[in-house]
Point group: C2
Chain length 130, copies 2
Amino acid sequence: MKTTRNTAAKTAVLEVLEKSKTALSHTEIHKQLNDLCDRVTIYRILDRLINEDIIHKISNLDGTVKYAKCHHLHQRVHIHNHAHFSCENCHEITCLENVKPSYIMPHNYKVNEINFTLSGLCPNCLNSNI
Amino acid sequence: MKTTRNTAAKTAVLEVLEKSKTALSHTEIHKQLNDLCDRVTIYRILDRLINEDIIHKISNLDGTVKYAKCHHLHQRVHIHNHAHFSCENCHEITCLENVKPSYIMPHNYKVNEINFTLSGLCPNCLNSNI
DNA sequence: AAATTAATGCAACAATGTTGCGATTGATAA
DNA sequence: TTATCAATCGCAACATTGTTGCATTAATTT
Ligand SMILES: [Mn+2]
Ligand SMILES: [Mn+2]
Ligand SMILES: [Zn+2]
Ligand SMILES: [Zn+2]
């Protein structure tokens, strides 16, 4: 089996995601790293972190893709079943760890993953009544 | 206010979406139209159809964006609050008009739109036990 | 039929993501 | 510590997807 290595770039990417309150896009991460490593390297690191279940990917209605650190403690296998909120004004995407949709599926489907993203106005932008 | 026109291309795009059992990507629509119109025109038509609430856009975890016709009858304003299923094997995306998530949001958010996409194996692919 | 302007085609561009390959480096064993 | 070797990286090249400006075409109204 393939073993995974802790490289400077991987550590840096993870640190950026850890410090961020909102989910970040590839480009945002790249900017924050300030040319510590190549664009392509970041894509590959993100892929690895997802496979290792350390971060998760969030895909937004407008086509944006963002990444956030997982906050579930020590669970080996898990589904990212919480909701995400995407603000139409400030374009920030945040994990709503406590919002989990309930739903009833037809029996003949096998669900492996869910993506539940809500969009509208976040508390910040709602207050500044845009 | 801007009035909207019924053009040959628009009619054709809508027809393709009407006939399809699954949601289609821009590229898939373009191929089916067989150079009836330009790529760019299709993007613009899709935008218009979305504004007119005739079709809706579905964004998948893998970054794919697809479009499907709305099947709600005569509702003026509506939210596309049904789920979509994205098959990891055949990559088809279908509307699950009857699956609607229920969830509880914190009060300080204003939700305008939701995107609820489940992925896994569709009935077809599940049967052919891949 | 003429006028108005929404819609189109085309070219050019931007953003995002992927692939191949030779060079580098982290982890492990000698 | 040093040698080893595969995982990771950098770079260049490419693919896909979506956007914009502008001159031209065509749908709708009068
Ligand atoms: Mn999350
Ligand atoms: Mn649908
Ligand atoms: Zn906001
Ligand atoms: Zn399938």
